[in-house]
């Protein structure tokens, strides 16, 4: 299911590395950027690219927070629930997003645009409360600011 030229790109990047296995996470990220999430079919492709068993790839894929093994929306919203954001009431950020998009943790909105997930402290405690959308960080959140951010995502 991977397009031929994209597969070549991945293969070249892997073979350029002294130790191909160093490239597993980057390869999965590239696949996610293109196809949204790491489906069973894509996982099988990764195992072929690295000549590793499905189980070995699964073991890595399920270990990490930002590798998605289930379908996600175009935008994945991770709300930081670290202790500093807890003090700064991340719960109100979460409630606002829940109400606005009508989704709970682990769910995707009906239009397929948004998935809501938690994340541990993302290291933006000086701009708390904070969240991440597709690996971009937004801080000092308020309901109005969240509305603006979501509106401005194309």
């Amino acid at each position: 299911m991977i397009e031929e030229d994209f597969r070549h790109f991945l293969e070249n990047r892997i073979s350029a590395s002294d130790h191909p296995r160093e490239q597993i996470v980057d390869t999965i990220f590239s696949l996610q950027d293109r196809y949204g999430y790491l489906s069973d079919e894509l996982l099988a492709e990764v195992s072929m690219l690295f000549e590793m068993s499905h189980l070995e790839i699964e073991e890595i894929a399920t270990f990490y927070e930002f590798i998605y093994r289930k379908p996600v929306g175009k935008y994945v919203i991770h709300v930081c629930d670290g202790v500093v954001c807890w003090m700064n009431e991340y719960g109100s950020v979460l409630d606002h997003i829940r109400r606005k998009l009508n989704i709970d943790y682990g769910q995707t909105s009906h239009d397929g645009r948004f998935t809501l997930l938690p994340t541990c402290c993302i290291g933006y405690c000086d701009r708390s409360p904070a969240m991440m959308i597709n690996r971009r960080v937004y801080g000092r959140l308020s309901p109005e600011k969240i509305d603006d951010i979501l509106k401005n995502l194309d």
Binding site: R21, E22, V25, I28, F50, I60, C120, G123, C125, R135
Partner: protein, 427 residues
């Protein structure tokens, strides 16, 4: 304004360029190191400078380099640990966004000191911007001749690559990180052998925190005595990047002399607490350090002073709690973090932390019983019998909560509810 070393070229909303870094003396240390010193001389200078690891453990950097045997096999690796995932900690992010070349120069000098020709920067995925900055600046450094073959005409060559993590706290642990880079599940490996003997691909691997490496060029350029003189205390050396967050007016990252008093960091630099709030306690170095009792409010924030008081400096990331914030709730939040992030490899951590979480949850929600206090005391001791430092770190806030704030815990139990204004308890 105190002496700025690591933040000398820090501008609001702008990253220092290679030219700016060079103008301020950047890469002079590399030239000096390659032309004037041998690898073993560099190792001695770092040891004499009392450069202690800034990632939390405070291990002397020079000593770490000395554990790489002269006849150890090649290639050898330098890993820069930018997997900053300790809650409350963001100094490495700020440093990379301020002046990234001192980290790169530090890596090259550290590489030269142990003849490691391959550098890897391991960076967490929520720091994608920082990862891109580093990729760009590594490439700029290569074009300027500071990386690549025969650096500045010497016989030393080095390449640096960026390795993105996909997000897991345990990857910040040295041995777990080595597994992660090798494309394995990131479980920690109990030494021996130490990573400096058999690390990545069974070859010598030296891992340092971002801030530790950033200190290296300044030490080589200005000497170990200068570096030691930057500290307020005789047991410390250099400056320290202190992060302050939680209940303060101006949260941020401040470069101050090592050993600056906690009260000064909070009041003079982070603006103190907002009106209507009083200081109750703080975590001095991230979520895996102990709550400080009030009488240590003036403590000198260096590794040795905190150790003497029975505490840990950790990453020097101060999280301030006020009198209106429930410490049972805060500890529950942190223990929930540790339970989620435990790799599950060893029993005390995998089973013990969720047990503590369950008890704290009951206490916070009015279902606490008298005997729960002794259960928590026993379990927070027990989980320290684990493979790596994650579980002892997780135990630190729990054990210190019981030691210094037992009354607050008991109030939850006797009132059968949280005596503080209810906050969001979802986790």
């Amino acid at each position: 304004m105190t002496m700025q070393v690591l933040f000398k070229n820090r501008h609001p909303e702008r990253i220092a360029t290679l030219e700016e870094y060079c103008k301020s003396g950047g890469y002079e240390a590399l030239e000096k190191a390659l032309k004037k010193y041998s690898g073993s001389e560099i190792r001695s200078i770092a040891l004499d400078a009392l450069l202690l690891g800034r990632g939390g453990a405070g291990f002397p950097a020079g000593k770490k380099w000395m554990t790489v045997a002269d006849n150890a096999p090649f290639p050898r690796f330098i890993v820069c640990n930018a997997d900053e995932m300790e809650p409350g900690t963001f100094k490495d992010r700020v440093l990379i966004h301020a002046d990234p070349h001192q980290i790169i120069e530090g890596m090259i000098i550290a590489g030269y000191s142990v003849f490691a020709e391959r550098g890897i920067i391991f960076i967490r995925s929520s720091y994608e911007n920082a990862a891109r900055i580093l990729e760009r600046e590594v490439s700029n450094a290569r074009q300027a001749g500071f990386l690549g073959k025969n650096i500045l005409g010497s016989s030393f060559s080095m390449e640096i690559t960026i390795h993105r993590s996909a997000g897991r706290y345990i990857c910040g642990e040295n041995t777990a990180q080595i597994n992660a880079i090798q494309g394995k599940r990131a479980n920690p490996i109990q030494p021996p052998p130490y990573a400096t003997e058999k690390g990545l691909w069974n070859l010598p691997t030296v891992t340092h925190n971002v801030e530790t490496l950033a200190c290296v060029p300044h030490i080589i350029r200005n000497g170990h005595d200068w570096f030691k003189s930057l500290s307020r205390t005789s047991t410390g050396a250099g400056t320290k990047l202190y992060c302050v967050s939680g209940r303060v007016k101006n949260p941020g990252c401040f470069e101050l002399p090592m050993g600056t008093r906690l009260s000064e960091i909070i009041e003079d630099h982070a603006g103190g607490l907002p009106p209507g709030y009083q200081y109750k306690t703080c975590l001095p170095g991230g979520a895996s350090t102990r709550f400080l009792p009030k009488d240590l409010y003036d403590i000198e924030m260096d590794f040795e002073s905190l150790k003497r008081a029975g505490h840990r400096l950790g990453t020097g990331s101060v999280i301030v709690f006020d009198q209106k914030t429930c410490l049972v709730g805060a500890t529950l939040n942190m223990i929930d973090f540790f339970a989620r992030e435990s790799c599950g490899w060893c029993t005390p951590c995998r089973e013990g932390i969720p047990f503590i979480r369950d008890i704290l949850f009951r206490i916070e929600n009015g279902e606490g019983k008298e005997e729960h206090i002794s259960w928590l005391q026993r379990m927070s001791k027990f989980i320290s019998n684990s493979y790596c430092a994650l579980a002892p770190g997780a135990a630190a806030p729990v054990e210190s909560l019981l030691t210094y704030f037992e009354d607050e815990v008991r109030e939850h139990i006797s009132q059968r509810k949280c005596p503080f204004i209810q906050k969001d308890m979802l986790s």
